[in-house]
């Protein structure tokens, strides 16, 4: 019997007769946005499937219609308060193509700097503040204390370190763009202003402390993996799948994208769990020919897959672990040592989703090393950072690697450059199938006799947090709800309900 994209065996809802029960966790805590998890039991009380429901609709595509395309960077950057730079870059790169321009080399370096800073600050939040309480305080600790405050009490230095790393990443964004959030500094054609020598020196001065924090995080997490997190490697989403992301020239780790794609220059790469290349040198312009999206009635989030392989075999993962799996090497000394160790720990192609956490820490180190290299470039303060042009094309696709994975922006514009159609393929959506498979695997392993232990619920939630999903923090005013756990009979009746918080 084939699995459906969400991890069920036959793809149909399971709670359709009286012998089935549903456990709902609503909302999932410590991820971006609002979602819930339901665990579906079969007639014997065993877990049939688990589902990650995204219940908030992202309506930004329609909102963008009619806007002038150069505005898209600033508009889409406001989709998310945690990773605005990701949309900013993808939008600007799409704009570059509509103008048919090649941006100045220094402008590309500055854009890269900003993306590296974005990845650092986003990964720092995910590891130090959202996930480390689980690792340090234990799955069975009081959920009211297994959070940032609990971490603060147990290891205040670690809590401060996370904040310092986020501050460093955001200071880079601020020095470059003038604002921490929604920097409209990245524009089609390049960037608005160059980096000053004083700004460069300020950023260089922050690197040693950031390196030290990253190394401390790596040492801490590797120690935990060696001593008390072995089971999580096997149970938290360990399964074969495809992995997709950008690679640079010669297959090196890439986060921004190479100018022309193509196998020699890099581009999008799809790799199977056995290390075989499914596709290489793919261009983002052709994404619609190799990515399709399945839809399930119980979630607003779609289920992308590689078209040629179908919804099951074509399931893939993106993000930090995918980027490290598909690359030949990172290209910098310290992070390449860590990459080697990751592969010794998890195999040539790492299939354990729990190692997304380690991948984030390695990427923080890689980002810092690449920042160091970029800031040492002789032309990093060059004044020529923007080219101006008129509209040359009416349709374009831009791509970049967001902290959580590959991000596509696809615009169609009219003769005046006004947006007629927008399609955004976000990283979290591309990990949707993997998140559902992960929580199904966890629930099957830990749930027995319908016992809704706190430890089980914590682990299911933590399975989702491996992917650090971003579900569009489109409004902060909603979602201040307690954790709700429901056991619902097939007839719709509420069998059991628990709240947390």
């Amino acid at each position: 019997m084939a699995d459906s994209p969400d991890g069920t065996r036959d793809g149909t809802p399971t709670a359709t007769n009286a012998s089935h029960r549903t456990i709902t966790i609503d909302p999932v805590t410590r991820i971006e946005g609002h979602a819930k998890i339901s665990i579906h039991l079969d007639g014997t009380g065993a877990v049939e499937t688990a589902r990650f429901h995204v219940v908030e609709f992202r309506g930004f595509e329609r909102f963008c219609e009619g806007r002038h395309f150069p505005e898209m960077a600033a508009i889409t950057a406001r989709i998310c308060g945690i990773c605005p730079v990701s949309h900013l870059l993808a939008a600007a790169k799409t704009g570059d193509k509509l103008l048919a321009v090649t941006i100045p080399p220094t402008a590309e370096k500055l854009r890269r700097l900003m993306n590296l800073a974005q990845i650092i600050q986003s990964h720092a939040l995910s590891f130090f503040h959202l996930s480390s309480p689980d690792f340090l305080l234990g799955w069975d600790s009081d959920p009211a204390k297994r959070n940032l405050f609990g971490l603060m009490a147990a290891d205040p230095d670690l809590a401060r370190s996370g904040i310092r790393l986020r501050q460093f990443g955001q200071s880079v964004i601020e020095v470059l763009g003038g604002r921490k959030i929604h920097p409209a500094w990245v524009v089609p054609g390049g960037v608005r202003s160059p980096l000053s020598p004083a700004g460069r020196d300020q950023l260089l001065a922050g690197l040693p402390e950031a390196f030290a924090i990253a190394q401390r995080g790596l040492a801490l997490f590797k120690q935990l993996l060696d001593t008390k997190l072995a089971e999580e490697l096997e149970v938290f989403g360990n399964f074969p799948s495809l992995f997709m992301g950008l690679v640079g020239a010669d297959g090196h780790w890439e986060h921004y994208g190479t100018p022309d794609g193509g196998s020699a220059a890099g581009g999008l790469r799809i790799m199977a769990s056995d290390g075989s290349l499914v596709a290489d040198g793919l261009r983002e312009d052709d994404y619609a020919s190799f990515i399709a999206e399945a839809v399930e009635p119980w979630s607003y989030l779609k289920f992308p897959y590689i078209t040629a392989l179908g919804p099951m075999a074509g399931r893939y993962r993106v993000g930090p672990l995918a980027r490290l799996n598909i690359c030949k090497s990172i290209g910098t000394e310290r992070s390449d040592r860590e990459l080697l160790e990751l592969r010794q720990r998890g195999g040539p192609v790492v299939t354990a989703s729990f190692l997304y956490h380690l991948a984030r820490l390695i990427e923080i180190l890689a980002c810092l090393e690449q920042m160091e290299q970029l800031l040492a470039s002789p032309d990093i303060c060059d004044a020529h950072v923007r080219v101006r042009a008129s509209l040359k094309a009416h349709e374009a696709v831009g791509v970049s690697e967001a902290p959580r994975g590959t991000l596509f922006h696809h615009y169609r514009v009219d003769g005046d450059g006004l947006i007629e159609k927008v399609n955004l393929i976000i990283a979290t959506g591309q990990n949707n199938s993997a998140m559902n498979r992960t929580i199904t695997q966890i629930a099957r392993h830990y749930l027995s006799n319908g016992n809704l232990s706190e430890a089980l619920l914590n682990r299911v939630e933590a399975g989702i947090r491996c992917f650090d999903p971003c579900l569009s923090c489109s409004t902060h005013a909603a979602g201040q709800m307690p954790l709700q756990v429901q056991l619902i009979g097939a007839d719709g009746g509420l069998l059991q309900e628990r709240f947390r918080g």
Binding site: T29, R30, G59, N147, L148, F149, H182, M481, P482, G501
Partner: protein, 165 residues
């Protein structure tokens, strides 16, 4: 508001802090963000302004350097418009893990500032009445009507605090 006993000024650090937050593409939800941007343009003496889409952990660091902070946010179904003291009560029930995430509460930030950095500033909150939270720019009539008063309250607070200092 009285200056905090024992608080040492750090050279170059402004003693007052305004944090306005919300999503500017979700209509009234962005009230706090817009007010922060407008106040920043006034360049009021002694006032540092931060506009954010949501409250995140690192905001605790600048808070710990301030003598007083005001949080400006949209609020649905809440009136009247006024600056109100914001207290963190360590004896209060834990607000739960969902509030310790990507988006924190002002109270949580106050606690972080105190516990991690050793200083909790005096805090006020300004909740601006809101009605609309759909995708888009522009405010509801209710929010638009409240904006001038909200701005005046913040400007008045900053002026009074500066005179006291």
């Amino acid at each position: 508001m009285k200056p905090i006993p024992g608080m040492k000024r750090v050279a170059g650090i402004k003693p007052l802090l305004l944090i306005g937050y919300g999503n500017p593409l979700r209509q009234d939800d962005g009230l706090g963000w817009h007010i922060a941007m407008a106040i920043e343009a006034l360049d009021l003496p002694g006032l540092q302004v931060l506009a954010a889409q949501q409250l995140t952990q690192e905001l605790a660091a600048p808070m710990a350097l301030a003598e007083a902070v005001v949080f400006v946010d949209a609020a649905y179904g809440i009136a009247p418009l006024a600056l109100k003291p914001l207290h963190h009560n360590p004896q209060a029930p834990d607000p739960g893990p969902q509030t310790w995430s990507h988006q924190l509460t002002p109270q949580a930030l106050l606690m972080l500032a105190g516990e991690l950095y050793g200083h909790q500033p005096a805090a006020l909150q300004l909740l601006v009445p809101a009605q609309w939270d759909g995708h888009g720019e522009g405010f509801s009539p209710c929010a638009a009507a409240a904006l001038p008063t909200a701005m005046a309250l913040v400007v008045g607070w900053a002026g009074e605090e500066s005179r006291r200092a």
